[in-house]
Amino acid sequence: MSEIADAVLSIEHLGVSLPKGADRPHALSDVSLSIASNEILCVVGESGSGKSMMANAIMRLLPNEVRIDSGRMVFEGRDLCAASVAEMRQVRGAGIAMIFQEPMTALNPLRTIGDQIAEMFSIHTKLSKPEISAKVLALLEDVRIPDPKVAAKAYPHELSGGQRQRAMIAMALALDPKLLIADEPTTALDVTTQAQILKLIRDLQQRRKTAVLFITHDFGVVAEIADRVVVMQHGVVVEQGAAAQVLNDPRQPYTKQLIAAVPPLKAPPARIISGKNILTISGVSKTYRTGGFLGRGARVTPAVQDVSLYLPRGATLGIVGESGSGKSTLARCIVRLIDPETGSIVLGGKDWAKLTREEFRRETRHIQMVFQDPFASLNPRRKAAELVAQGPIVHGTPRAEAIAEAKELFALVGLDPSSADRFPHEFSGGQRQRIGLARALALKPDVLVADEPVSALDVSVQAQVLKLLAGLRQQLGLSIIFITHDLRVAAQICDLVAVMKDGAVVEQGLAAEVFGNPQHPYTQALLAAIPGGKFAREHATATV
């Protein structure tokens, strides 16, 4: 399989060793693969599978103490493992180019986009200035940036995320590299932008016959773009083959497991929803005002505009939208981390929006929140059991009792109660998210607000946490507000869905109706933009 006649890059038995004290001795072991010109090879794997390490190994950009200790990487008849530093400089950019996940950090914030692309030419070629600026414009046109002349003079922060990624791609393609390595290039982007960038990469690849090594964790993206697929786990290639074959007929159990964990884009069978609403939100607005002196030059951003929603008892309401749609602000208004300006949030007969801070502090156990980032949402200096017990202790439970209850909660969320004495950094991302969930549940809330609770997790862990959430909902009679940007996740767990755009709710209703028969053009566009939409739907029917 790895022997392809016209391979642009072929990697043979590559091994990369990690420094002593790392969680495993090898980042990569015995990795063999090859990329032909004119194909997109997707490398998929969960975090820690070594996929990014492989990209860095190809570019010979490994961190100190991480070394290539075996194998060969043949590019244009030359073994990159043995190339000198000067030779590598020739290869990087001109022979192999790379684009990264976060274009904002990969671009220099103090120089214009045009300058940064022009630099590629001035370093590697002897073209004159006018020739270079003509080439820069042509490139920016090629990556379909609206108004290339303006974009060339813009600084990175003046462009949107999608435009920045286009600029990065233009920079990478400047010198017509034989191979483009794309390391999760669309992960930080919204779903509609992601769809555009994926289409762009596919187009450019076909026009320019560049080989693309595309690294991703998302099988939807794989279905969208890949010609061939390599599946990695713990630094080893588990399976490789043509995209259609790997996606539809995976041979290895690990691949099967990964694909089964991909959330299918189809609402689960509708559950019976109580007619009584536990939480009613009406007319909530929040506007941010920044800067400005005496009203001049002030920027007014309506983050949430006149949002009205209801949550039936025991149901799950999904709030979906892209970044900047105001969904997180709304969640923070509901738990009063942010004070809404107008509107009411009625829970248990009280208007939450009108309570004073002190009143709210006492009532807070009725409504609890689970946060997005499992690394940032736990105080690193407290033990897991303490973190979970904090809420009850604050509300007057004796410490010993609260700690004992915390250990019971550990079992409830699927953690080993004996691990309660460990600090957060000793847990994995999924486990930390379970701790966060246990902390919220410790106060026995009526309503749980979950702000992107699974977005930072690998798909298999994501599936486990969603399953846990669905189980707890049943067991404890929880009502959940579930905020996510990922419609596939929303489709899995939500009974009701509200779609937000620019601070306003554009469509709401039963999940099956919103996903099955979207009415608003924006909802339709969102659904159409989901990567590998066809795969997601077909695969749904295959696994359910």
């Binding site: 006492r362 409504i367 609890q368 940032a376 949402s377 105080n379 809420g391 604050v394």
Partner: protein, 276 residues
């Protein structure tokens, strides 16, 4: 534990710790090795060091044993260094924590006060305080502490500004914690490492400030301090330079030890910065 291991991996940090322990041992053993009052007349004035076995480091211009004064002086320096640092850090943390946590007008008021202190040179302010309140050991220590708090306050404020909107603080708020619980229990422990490291700088400066004060004969003359001895030696600096030089070396060694320990703590508490 990891931090401790990292600390002992650095030879400079270990050397600093050993030096500091030596100074502490000197302070602890002073009354045992020199049971007599260090400020009592002991022999002929201005005996050179190593010329008389009774006075290993010689005597000063009034005939007091320099070695005894050095040992007892270690106590004073450590006392002033330690207590003044504690005062400065305590005020600094309080001011910085409230300013950083509440922001708005609280921050404005507290930071303008901090700036008022910062614009005055430390030493000038110290002179004013000593001139007004007198120069006993207590007032000098408190005065040194009071002039050293602005930088720890700014450091704490900066840490609080970046930590107060972290998700774990928000989580604490949704659990219904009071502001004070959030400040002390959640944010402060995470804001401490840079402040602890800076405490070593405050301590070194505090020791130097006291010596400078003593050199001008404005410190408490009734205790044996290194600064007082340097001040005395000023009169005979041309010939009997050792009277000033010996306590000078003692100060140098102590400040160096404190700085090395501080640097070691910095590397141990912020390991990521070091490997860069």
């Amino acid at each position: 534990m990891d931090a401790l291991k990292r600390y002992f991996r650095s030879p400079a940090a270990v050397a600093g710790l050993i030096l500091l322990l030596v100074v502490i041992a000197m302070a602890a053993s002073a009354s045992f090795l020199y049971p007599r009052d260090p400020l009592a007349l002991a022999g002929r004035p201005l005996i050179w060091p190593f010329s008389n076995p009774r006075f290993l480091l010689g005597t000063d211009n009034s005939g007091r044993d320099i070695a005894a004064q050095i040992f007892y002086g270690a106590r004073i320096s450590l006392l002033i260094g330690g207590v003044a640092t504690a005062i400065a850090i305590l005020i600094g943390i309080l001011v910085g924590a409230f300013a950083g946590y509440y922001g708005g007008w609280v921050d404005n008021v507290l930071m303008r006060i901090t700036e008022a202190f910062q614009t005055l040179p430390n030493f000038v302010l110290l002179l004013v305080l000593v001139a007004v309140f007198g120069s006993t050991l207590t007032t000098v220590t408190i005065a040194v502490g009071v002039v050293s708090w602005p930088v720890p306050a700014r450091l704490t404020r900066a840490e609080f500004l970046s930590l107060r909107n972290r998700e774990f603080v928000q989580a604490g708020r949704t659990l219904g914690m009071k502001d004070l619980q959030l400040i002390l229990g959640e944010i402060l422990p995470n804001a401490m490492p840079p402040v602890i490291v800076y405490a070593s700088v405050v301590m070194a400066v505090a020791i130097l400030l006291e010596s400078a004060l003593a050199f001008l004969r404005l410190s408490d003359p009734n205790v044996a301090s290194w600064g007082n001895l340097i001040g005395l030696g000023r009169d005979v600096l041309r010939v009997q330079w050792y009277v000033s030089a010996i306590p000078g070396i003692a100060i140098l060694v102590t400040v160096l030890a404190v700085s090395l320990v501080g640097q070691g703590l910095n590397d141990a508490l912020n390991p990521r910065l070091k490997s860069r």
